[in-house]
Assembly symmetry: C2
Homo-oligomer: 208 residues x 2
DNA sequence: CGAGAATATAAGCAGAATACTCACATTTGG
DNA sequence: CCAAATGTGAGTATTCTGCTTATATTCTCG
């Protein structure tokens, strides 16, 4: 019995050197995100990704050692994107309403390209081999930013962590639901989501 | 070209008449829910469901004409359950805090058996053939109950529909997230989710 | 130019699943 | 005790999927 590590799982089998191959790799990752968002993990096959990207299946395997390495690349790219959105919204000190507005706009923008990618990545995609760590790390930093905002705007300072978790999952739920119904750009929704955030963080949940 | 309807898709190939077969069918549906919740749609195979139920694959096909009929049965059962929870919480007139508490408790209880079944049913499961109607009908009635509550507790009566949608998806998001982390029974979470509902429905999202 | 390196192609393999049938065994009710 | 109801599971036929490989094309750079 070896050390429980089944696969070394290198990120890239070969690093793209010319501009052409960089574009190819980018096209593959982009197509992968599209397939994942449109059809979900169940329909995510390397052949279909290659076809969607407009490259041959051989090209895909020239750079990605296996299917999971591809998913990892997609995940990394998407998480980095989302993380930057929250970091930006929670960065400097600003009025609550402005924070909420920027957060909502950013999250909606991030989900407008591949509406359900985020959820698929969180729910359906296997957390196999090494992505587990990246996954957890993302979640941790993700929450940190939320917690920072919560600490900044909330009077009651208890349970910051739980409050942050509740807030983030509520926002994600609303966005995800809107994405599924193709209603991400409804201005009414943006407004209400903003109000939800403000109301919860203002936080006097009615007495008694 | 015929009428676009590929399959008549009967619900049951044969109706169980004896107590034994009723139990068998029930075991199959229950096992199906478990498999769907534990492994997701990608791992949902009729063979695995039968094995989980402790019956032979032949028994399954004696009552369910095909895979989708089985999923439909699972969906119907689960949706009926969830619907009853909301109906009960939003039934009589009661103080906001009590409504919130009952809703949260009910939703958590409903998700405690098969934590991620609800999301899987909504997101991964194909809406094929005839379940589309049931699906939409469920969503409609689901929202109706939320809307009733919103109309009852909210001062501003505009956008009742949007508010109901935002509220329901926020609640679902929190529950779903908690389910994924096995934190459904954390009392802190129940409390915060209740406060979120109250705060949003109380609804003065800070001025300016 | 031209040679070798980098990149792209797609036919196809080997094996794993999977939905579903069918011929037969067992149990039940009347 | 028998006909109907119920249960069984090996087997089938088909699809799919991840991935290799032998070959073709394009780029870089002296």
């Amino acid at each position: 019995m070896s050390t429980r590590i089944a696969k070394p799982a290198p990120r890239m089998r070969k690093e793209p050197r010319q501009a052409r191959s960089v574009a190819t790799v980018e096209a593959i990752v982009e197509a992968g995100a599209r397939v994942l968002s449109d059809i979900g993990w169940a329909g995510f096959s390397t052949n279909k990704v290659a076809e969607t990207a407009g490259v041959s299946i051989g090209s895909l395997y020239q750079y990605f050692p296996d299917k999971l390495a591809l998913v990892d690349a997609i995940r990394r790219r998407h998480f980095d994107h989302v993380l930057s959105v929250i970091r930006e919204a929670a960065a400097e000190e600003k009025p609550l309403r402005q924070f909420a507005r920027e957060l909502v706009r950013g999250m909606i923008a991030a989900h407008s390209i591949h509406p359900t990618l985020h959820q698929v990545l969180l729910d359906e995609t296997p957390g196999d081999r090494g992505s587990r760590a990246a996954h957890a790390s993302f979640q941790a930093r993700y929450l940190e930013h939320y917690a920072a905002a919560v600490a900044q705007y909330r009077r009651r300072l208890k349970n910051t962590e739980t409050v942050a978790r509740v807030l983030s999952s509520a926002v994600e739920g609303v966005i995800h639901n809107a994405a599924r119904r193709n209603m991400l750009d409804a201005p009414e929704l943006q407004k209400q989501l903003g109000e939800l955030i403000c109301a919860y963080l203002s936080g006097q949940g009615a007495r008694a």
